[in-house]
């Protein structure tokens, strides 16, 4: 990844960006870090298996520094996430510079990723897109009663850590429904199962970029990604729309009517 590292160093040295968000090796572990000078880039790593919600971290940084231009190292899923965040005004395209990296074929296969690379990459071989919907066809083949039983059983295991929401790059509402005191009383019981799961699935139906971070974060192994992939497929079938694909095409559910329903955000 030396070519990419050199490009990043140039971007920092020439003042093109104030910092670059990526992974750095800390005590032998790849962890998110904002590189603000080219010298520190010696610790920059590309890690295939340890994915962090890097675009969500970027929102947090950028909210505090809206005038800075910040670079971010993105793989395919994170590139799709950037597109959605620009469209939904959570980041501004002129203030964010994506630096594309590729995922290898093995990871693409494991992730069932249909686009394992962002729109622009510096170097490396592009992995072939993986069109594998066997997880969906398997569940779709069950009778409705059994499907219902399957999902209620899985949702019933939820320990309500809300980690799936915390890592989700499509969960960026200014006030999360879960933290809206008029809907859920503070200090009271969390919503009954499966209200949260289905609510989230609907809420981000045309934003989910199928990164799978939610499922990786679930301590109970609930196959939430399977549910979101089904919703994503439904949105594609019904509206011919795939989130994270086209930066100019607006989502069918987010932008109703005259656009006055659009979410507030710092990137507006």
């Amino acid at each position: 990844m030396e070519k990419t590292r050199e490009k990043m160093a140039r971007m920092l040295d020439e003042g093109f960006v104030s910092g670059i968000l990526g992974l750095r090796l800390s005590h032998g572990h790849p962890v998110p870090y904002l590189f603000t000078d080219s010298v520190s880039l010696k610790d920059w790593v590309v890690d295939e298996t340890n994915r962090y919600p890097i675009t969500k971290i970027l929102i947090q940084i950028w909210k505090k520094h809206p005038n800075k231009v910040i670079g971010v190292v993105v793989r395919g899923c994170e590139g799709r996430s950037l597109i959605e965040l620009f469209k939904n005004h959570q980041l501004h395209p002129e203030k964010v510079k994506g630096i594309g990296i590729v995922c290898n074929q093995e990871l693409a296969k494991r992730c069932r990723c249909d686009r394992p690379y962002p729109s622009e990459v510096e170097e490396g071989e592009l992995a072939k897109p993986v069109e594998d919907f066997s997880d969906l066809t398997e569940i779709e083949s069950l009778p409705e009663e059994e499907r219902f039983k399957y999902w209620i059983g899985k949702f019933g295991e939820c320990i309500k850590c809300y980690g799936c929401r915390n890592v989700c790059p499509a969960c960026f509402c200014t006030t999360c429904t879960l933290e809206d005191p008029s809907l859920i009383k503070p200090g009271g019981m969390p919503p009954e199962i499966p209200i949260f799961h289905l609510h989230k699935a609907f809420h981000m139906a045309d934003r989910c970029i199928d990164c799978g971070l939610c499922e990786e974060a679930c301590p109970m192994g609930i196959p939430v990604r399977k549910l979101y992939r089904k919703v994503r497929k439904s949105v594609k079938d019904l509206f011919h729309y795939t989130p994270g694909e086209d930066k100019d095409l607006k989502g069918p559910l987010e932008f109703l009517g005259d656009g006055s329903y659009e979410l507030p955000g710092v990137g507006r």
Binding site: S18, G19, R51, I61
Partner: protein, 141 residues
């Protein structure tokens, strides 16, 4: 570089302090302030997952209600005091209880918010210095 004096984001590897599981987490530090928690993806215990307490592990750090100095009750009211005075008071009272009622009238409850080493030291201190086996830990509930 000077222009970036106020722009910094890093994550610090640490261990969750809420129970004895020992989940690995990352504290997110933005411009010197701890603003969030992320589960450590390659930690052998939690493997990139956390419970709701772990996800909130950063919240007490900058909390206004957090005690930063020892308090001593004077005339029924808590007042800030020096560590010297607080230690003197605790030591003299413990010594008095031990002398009057014996070491087994003292018990120690330690905390998951301390490190393994601190917990080890604490039980050692209870057994070797105070002279009792009455020692327990909140994570053993």
């Amino acid at each position: 570089m000077l222009g970036n004096a106020m722009l910094s984001y890093e994550t610090v590897l640490t261990t969750c302090t809420y129970c004895g599981c020992g989940c690995g987490l990352l504290l997110e530090v933005l411009d010197g302030e701890v603003v969030g928690t992320l589960p450590q993806k390659d930690h052998p215990i939690n493997q990139g997952k956390l419970c709701i307490k772990g996800w909130s592990a950063h919240e007490f750090i900058h909390n206004q209600g957090r005690l930063k100095k020892p308090l001593l009750r004077k005339d029924g009211l808590h007042e800030e005091t020096s560590w010297e005075e607080a230690f003197d008071r605790v030591a003299s009272h413990l010594l008095k209880i031990k002398e009057e009622r014996g070491p087994d009238s003292i018990a120690g409850l330690t905390s998951a918010k301390c490190s393994n080493e601190e917990n080890y030291l604490f039980q050692k201190w209870m057994r070797a210095v105070v002279g009792t086996n009455n020692v327990d830990h909140c994570a053993r509930l």
